[in-house]
Symmetry: D2
Subunit: 385 residues, 4 copies
């Protein structure tokens, strides 16, 4: 029997971490052939060249698509999507996949969804049905309406996708595959690697043995003009806490330059004696880093998902994760220097929170691959009501 | 007070007919400035150069966007959308509209929706919430999820948009503005113009005084490989009926070349002594033509909407209008030469059907303009459940 | 030893005819691997789907690039080139050719030249150094300046490329490979096939046994607004001659729609009892058709090259072939109905003209392949003065 | 009389400096209307946002074109050009300029040249006919072949453009307009502004009163993989000299990331106690900075032109300015740390060199504007031989 050709398009570093176990499970599946397409910021050194990690992890890249248009504005995001459609349609025409899989809700993922659905290629979407309240949400639900199959991360998301008029038997709650990576490290107590040696980065190199903070704060698309102001509040709060801190640069996005400039300018003027900056980290190491940390600060979805599963305390800043289902490990704060500082202090006093399996049990990748092998092809659907 | 800048993007001849009264009402409104952008097939002679009608009707064109990529395949449709996003984002950046309005559900309208929503420009959608069962439906509901305001054509559509998770107070049942055009001609009994003289076209010029058929059949995106076979069935059926017939060329679409080739090849081999072919017709004249006709044949939405309002009998072929709310004037048939022929014969015996106002009362354009003048701007929303 | 990967990009039907023997010679060469990329109008049914002939001739297509933007204007030509660069750069990145070969001087060939030279891939150009006096000439010489190797068709062209500052040892007068195809048929006296049966087309089917005319007239880019007027003059002149005539549709180009519309409109109004229209013809058959014809009319370069070699009389209309080296077989006339008619009559009285080998001896394809196998790679050059 | 609409497209910071006096002269000319289009890196903060300087200098921007595709490779350069053509053709269609002016030889300028010449808009080129020996040279001479008018900077360049087959009466030696800016400051002895205060930047702030070095080194397209190694040699040499040094970041270009990374990495590991880094500087201030400096180091064309005029000693590194006409102020060295260091030392012992007017007398801008006002329009030409 011919193997089914499953084409997954990865456009950013965090998406790779999220679906790495899906790629592995497809690659390992007897009835499936993985066609991995790497695009957008996943190819760019400024954003950690996720493609290098994929290749090091043993994945063969079927095609690379450079489509990020430079420009510190929203127009560039629209154009990046337009170029993505132009390029991906050529890629799909050449690769002739049986199914295309698009991941999450970043603006560039719309390019994958439009190209595949216009070309009558069955389209599967990982991680639809969630609620966040920014441009990502428009994109996410629009992709749901373009998709034929839905791999969602929670019951909450499943019910929302069905309410959106999708056939219930095409909506699969597989849990979130990012949790799969956490499975192996959930009992680790001490870091098994030296992050400074392994990942370089810049800044001081504080001693991590007595606990440390991790910061990961992305710009919010609808607030991109404030991205510099927002990051400065977090920088000031963290500076006042003055504990060992590992800080990660933001994703490419409208506003990323504001965030980056904010960090760079702050570093020129303040010493930040306990802060080290990283551009990127392999997903597995990053999870281990979180597992061993005292608290995660910022607005990354990793705080909502993986940290729930691991029970790591989180200070979640601002609107980016609004209305996402969360565990008791999360404290929400607005953009306010003092409130950020106080929430960090509070979390540092907390014991490790209770763990939750609301986002899955660590076998999502395998579940998704099995469904992809089994599903009946279609690219034509109608709303259920 | 500054006038609100309302940018409407028209990408095809039928969309212009549909929203002409909206354009007029915006243009006439004291608080609104119309920015008319003409794109895609609305600019192309092959598809009737709708732009010429717009200019003749007195509208000023703010920008033209050539984005139709040639190629008899679905890839070209995807690429046309990609180029549309690239170009429209530049147009929006220069025009700086307060709101962008996108019309209906053709594949290229997605370009308008993506560009506007990624650029944080409030987006209004005319004619969401309907059900047809082809790629248009994926596109239509995806556009609903990208849009901030919804001008729908029926109560049925309104309830569907709300079910899709849109805030009820942002969903306005204004009726379908295409009906507005029919208002003036609903009592006409005889054609007030000679269509051969006014619109040229090719083929024989049968006498229309004893009644005539009108044919308008578009390719169906999900069946584009069959488009030539489908049109040939209709050609054969109409040829067997052998009554005076006015036939309209199809829209640009994946498959349009198949339809066009089918018609051209048929004409080379058969005489078609009672058929005349038109490339296009001004909306108002087309409605008058329908009003005075014995029957409309094909798969155009005009059969569902305007013909319901006017009470013109319709033979609706195939899947394109599936599940669209329809009046009693419509007989549905599959792609089958004999069944098409029999349905035409049946309709020719029918008296004119009862009229229905399910798609509005002829004041949709004004309603939409008033709401656009009044509405609070937003480009940021969240699903209601 | 690794075979050298030679990537040739074909963008139009006539270019394929021109370089077919080059493709064959590369394919047959022990040290070369042919990577055939088919793009632009060579993929489109409206222009004869040259790609089908390539595949039927046994060539494997490495990639297809759809990049023709519709629109009856020059802007579309520019955009077609822009899209071509976007797409071809991805193709080159994936195919990783050792050399890229670009053919002739159509506007889309600039896309090949820009993509390859910007990507530091050695670039060879077939058919530089000629003079015609329209936009093609700007493009042709600009491509010469981007190219590293030059395969020219005559001594005249060779000296011109060298004057343009190219190193003499990188300029090879191989003759024109289109002549190679004529080699086999130069002694044929009677058509070996029935063109109506083999190629279909439309119009009457005049008896060809007593001789016939062939017409091939393309729009001229710098005169595209007059393209319809120009073709009508030829139509009228040919109609007055009223001899059996085989007429070929034009290439895609700004203005092609004017030419096509002109032909279509004329056919609606005049009977043309002796004219048959073809969309396309395989190169070899077309040459045989010319060889057996009484006269070629129009502005095709085939009249200048192949007809010189074959000794077929030619009426060359207008400016398109200005200043191209020509044999005694050519009569030049302006856009003037009467002068066209008179020149045709004059040629019909002429005996077949003397043949000339100014454009080569029928072994150009092999010469070019041998040089490509032997040449030292470079992509970096400087002007010689 | 209608003013002639002169559209100039500026794609990079240095191009703006080069033609600023041309813009001023056009703006001030009674018969001309300036349409300034700003594109590519001239819009990007990473490269100094030249557009801000233009607006501060009082120029009105007619359109902005974002077309820089991110990616540390040559493919991105090709794509940037393709997107540029797509976007600029729309801009030209809307602005309807009488003439388009393209500047110099950066890869993106090809987009301007292709779009204008394909659209039959007369095209003028500033700074053709020069020789440098890298990809820029291919581009430069190709643009010459697309252009209708040529404003060259020296007799040497004029004769080369004529040899390229251009009509002599369309080639104007106006001198280089960048020299115009130097006119006002050629007698200045001491800096009139504090560069640290006025332009920020990073690094130490050495005392400049006893003289200082200026460094400006761009990546070379054909050597982009070595760009990091090359910049490191210069960094080491300058570090060994250990004099007050003002260093400018490179232009966007394939390889720019290598250069930037090289500088950043060096700064992480070495103290560079006498080096200050700038992102950009207004042209006039930069010239004053050069005028008061002891030596310019790197590969900028400013060393060849303005420094000749001003008599500033220059150490020119590597191949980028190969074969450009130069004055006695220039010492050429290869990529070699020791040779760079020795050449700097030599120049520091030299008295200020003799000045030369080989690149003009300071009135180029006015000359060009006058010719643009006077020239007869054409967009159609043929080679002279």
């Amino acid at each position: 029997m011919m193997k089914r050709k499953i084409c997954i398009v990865i456009t950013a570093r965090p998406s790779y971490s999220r679906v790495k176990t899906v790629l592995q499970a497809i690659d390992a599946h007897d009835d499936l052939e993985l066609l991995l397409v790497v695009a957008a910021s996943a190819l760019l050194p400024r954003y950690g060249s996720a493609v290098n990690y994929m290749e090091r992890d043993g994945f063969k890249v079927a095609a690379k698509v450079f489509n990020v248009l430079e420009g510190e504005n929203l127009t560039a995001a629209a154009k990046t999507t337009g170029i993505g459609i132009l390029e991906l349609s050529t890629v799909f025409e050449n690769l002739k996949p049986d199914i295309v899989v698009t991941v999450a809700d970043r603006f560039e993922t719309m390019a994958t969804a439009v190209a595949a659905s216009y070309m009558n290629i069955p389209l599967a979407h990982i991680q639809g049905g969630e609620v966040t309240g920014n441009i990502d949400e428009k994109v996410r639900h629009a992709i749901t309406k373009l998709s034929d199959y839905h791999f969602v991360a929670s019951e909450d998301a499943k019910s929302r996708v069905i309410k959106l008029g999708e056939q219930p038997d095409m909506v699969f709650n597989t849990g979130c595959p990012s949790i799969d990576l956490a499975l192996d490290i959930k009992n680790i107590k001490h870091l098994s690697f030296n992050p400074y040696e392994k990942y370089g980065g810049v800044g001081s190199e504080p001693d991590l043995s007595e606990g440390y903070l991790v910061v990961m704060q992305h710009p919010v698309t609808t607030e991109y003009k404030e991205s510099r102001a927002h990051i400065e509040l977090t920088l000031k709060a963290v500076n006042r806490i003055n504990k060992p801190t590992l800080w990660f640069w933001p994703n490419v996005d409208a506003g990323a330059d504001g965030t980056s400039t904010g960090i760079r300018a702050f570093r020129e003027h303040f010493e930040l004696p306990q802060v080290h900056f990283f551009k990127n980290m392999e997903g597995q190491d990053f999870l281990e880093l979180l597992q061993c940390s005292s608290c995660l600060i910022g607005n990354s979805s990793v705080g909502i998902r993986e940290c729930a599963y691991l029970g790591v305390p989180v200070v979640n800043i601002g609107t980016r994760q609004n209305r996402r289902l969360r565990g008791e490990n999360v404290l929400d704060v607005p953009y306010d220097e003092t409130k950020i500082k106080e929430a960090i202090e509070l979390q540092l006093f907390n014991p490790k929170n209770q763990k939750s399996s609301v986002y899955g049990n660590g076998d999502s990748g395998k579940k998704i691959a099995d469904i992809l092998a089994d599903i009946e092809f279609r690219f034509h659907k109608t709303i259920t009501y």
